[in-house]
Symmetry: C3
Subunit: 371 residues, 3 copies
Amino acid sequence: MDLPPLVDHHCHGVLRYEPAPGTFAAYLTESDRPPAAGTTFFDTQTGFAVRRWCPPLLDLPAHCPPGDYLDRRRALGPDETRRRLLGATGIGAYLLDTGLPGDLTGPAETARAAGGTGYEVVRLEALAERTAIGARDAEEFTDALGTAIEDAARTAVAFKSVAAYRHGLALDPLPPPPHEVHRAVRDWMAAGLPRLADPVLLRHLVWQAVATGRPLQLHTGFGDPDLRLDHADPALLTDLVKATADTGTDLVLLHCYPYHRQAAYLASVFPHVYADVGLALTHTGPRATAVLAEFLELAPFAKLLFSTDAYGLPELYLVGSVLFRTALAAVLGDWTATGAWSAADARRVGAMIAADNARRVYGLDAATAAP
Amino acid sequence: MDLPPLVDHHCHGVLRYEPAPGTFAAYLTESDRPPAAGTTFFDTQTGFAVRRWCPPLLDLPAHCPPGDYLDRRRALGPDETRRRLLGATGIGAYLLDTGLPGDLTGPAETARAAGGTGYEVVRLEALAERTAIGARDAEEFTDALGTAIEDAARTAVAFKSVAAYRHGLALDPLPPPPHEVHRAVRDWMAAGLPRLADPVLLRHLVWQAVATGRPLQLHTGFGDPDLRLDHADPALLTDLVKATADTGTDLVLLHCYPYHRQAAYLASVFPHVYADVGLALTHTGPRATAVLAEFLELAPFAKLLFSTDAYGLPELYLVGSVLFRTALAAVLGDWTATGAWSAADARRVGAMIAADNARRVYGLDAATAAP
Amino acid sequence: MDLPPLVDHHCHGVLRYEPAPGTFAAYLTESDRPPAAGTTFFDTQTGFAVRRWCPPLLDLPAHCPPGDYLDRRRALGPDETRRRLLGATGIGAYLLDTGLPGDLTGPAETARAAGGTGYEVVRLEALAERTAIGARDAEEFTDALGTAIEDAARTAVAFKSVAAYRHGLALDPLPPPPHEVHRAVRDWMAAGLPRLADPVLLRHLVWQAVATGRPLQLHTGFGDPDLRLDHADPALLTDLVKATADTGTDLVLLHCYPYHRQAAYLASVFPHVYADVGLALTHTGPRATAVLAEFLELAPFAKLLFSTDAYGLPELYLVGSVLFRTALAAVLGDWTATGAWSAADARRVGAMIAADNARRVYGLDAATAAP
């Protein structure tokens, strides 16, 4: 299917160094634990998809054993591996969440491997945790946070909330009043600034970000076991969605699986809500076609965005983009073949999901590329 | 697939007048808000399905631009448009919910366009709201309501509850005692009769309807954003389903999407529970096949009913019926082709879902046609 | 598809006698009530699958009328029917839950019909109810229960909890302290030992079983209407899953439908969690392919187990195993045909799900066959 350069509207940096085999395998799964005895993370759809699509780009046959692949990868080195894999993704713009730890490539550095453009997405909780380190009291923190968010809004193209991981999505929908925020900050500081998980602070971050007018990405659906899956159902955001309906700020629901039909519903009835196929395609291999088709039941075609959610491994960029292209071609091709859709509409909708919707939502034509 | 005249067991009137383009588009979605900037409600599965199936009936090519279609529609006028579109649906019986506002065709008027028969479904909340206008106190209201429901039961073929919209489906399952009902009515009257949303009154309506023995249709699953999707999961009705199991009254779960597997489960274990494909097919275009197939995993074949849930536009009748026929033929045809089902069984089940189940559940052969 | 002898890791005995037609039909459904007037349990995917696959093994044409099939079955008698049907399943090992009432075949007796091996799975609630009958007080009961569970762990290959039926899966995740257990036992005894449904006792059973190190099977998802479907979502087990993560004991989520994607997620992020296709395939007929494919989106291939959950009728063993083989061949065959998977990987994964995973999890090569 003929598509414009993809806009990967939610992704992460990749490792600058060559990972050990166990580290490589750990990036194939959302688990944060070792594999069960007698099993390997390569025996998953993600592992099989990596073995299907990546070895040929490293001069090996598809489906070669993991050991052969890792040997060859090591021989090429991380830079050449990244260059080859990212160069084959067809991604032209990377909206990169810079809030994850590790020795990872930044937005421009990631994009450079294939001549694309990098933009920054600022993760709210990480920004707040960094800001808190220097603050002497709650007032100073909230002031500094306000400034930090305003500053970020000048160059970043979006914010991101991981409230799903820290508390779950059943948040009180309204902005917390200042005295509640201050009390929560004092408690957080008194506790020695553990990972930010107080629902009052999470809501404060969401509303501060919404106030900037930049689109707000919200993690929903599956992820690592830090979250409880049933607490990450995007339908739980309904009251927050209603409360933000008149702010002029767009909300983008990330991943959503296995609640992607719920996310598509929200995108269908609320003008400012968008949804994302992200992780849901990368981790489901040949089932990406079926999952994308489920998204496209209720999601208006102007409301669905492409992302890889790649993290750590350039392989995940390659797999995420190939599975997306393959799934999109299969789904729209099938609907065109039966006459349900016209070929012209299929081409138009393909371009919308691949790039046009994201360019419009994030204002990419006027946005600041990240350094 | 050769089917008897369809029984559309849950639908609404269509506009008697020619809608403006924006009004027309608004009927293609469950949203009650304007489309997001830069988007149109035509870029949805419903919009594409209308453009696929309706233009040829108005002498235009399939997939013609929306503007061309609306021009042609205006030239033909609402009566001729309705005649052509409804005439192509193959629907023989319309069970029409008369509780929606607007200048809409009534049951007989709708059915007449294609020589069918119209029946009335009475929406409980609307009936209660009408009844309350003249009542002087709670006792007078509950007496008048009881009479109104009994009267309706004489001619209407079913009742319908939209408790999902007004409160959500997690209702206390038991009938509220009279003093609670009276207190709730007094509060409602004191508040100036706002939209009826008190859970005590919603339950009272449900149980009054159940007492008549007429089937009770319950909205479940997606709809306009008045409802919270996760509060409309039909599984939340389980305790009410158990409480009504020995009343002799059937419950029909409408739409159900994306919780249609949950609805099918309820229909499979409770003799008095039925489920409906309704809105779930109309709004999913070429995915109607997949959605119907999911219904048919657990739903006993004698427990699934056809409806379009069409509202406002005759296009939605046409699309709802065509998608149903197409999906049914595809699903049953596939199962017959692989030998999983016999051709005779497929024909029999097709007729059951299309018409026979509804004729039996609503007693249509003995029912009063609506004027 | 070439598979090793299947390991049916969760099943039940079959009737030793010839059931009356109504009894036979009642085993085709999870409903515990009569069919709705004018309907039959044969008009379900399970009924159609029985009529598709079983008649040829009894010398009748596929899809013959139910009456013909039941006549022929009666003529052959229960032993010959069982021999023919079980002999065609390809099941080599039966892990049989012995906690259901009725004149049912035991593990060895069931397995013998086709030369397989039977193993016992002990149902915790049934064990507790049996143990309570003789106990004079709470202390004596808990001591006797502890001994009974330890004894069972010596010969049984697994335990099973039906907490989903008795209370729902939203259990407090931690082991209840002894004084709470004793109080709950005293209350239960004082009430005359009704069906065990106290959440404290259900948790006590779970933790006692976990302490033995034997895998613990947990019913999740649909079943008879004793349970509330939404209270059986395996995601509700997340906190218990986390609490048991370091015990060294494996948890196996049974059936899971329609929450099988949630179960697959849990299996993908927690090393000690496994999932089971069970009932979800037996009851969905030609849709077993789609349901299995949904499982295989997130479930690591070493974490999915085969079962029939057959109960009462040897037909359910036949249908469960044929639908599994057919679905597996269709899904993996499709993925191999498109090049997404290699043929060698497909064969390997097929054997894992069919038998190897269960042999490893239950330690079958060293396990004690049941008498």
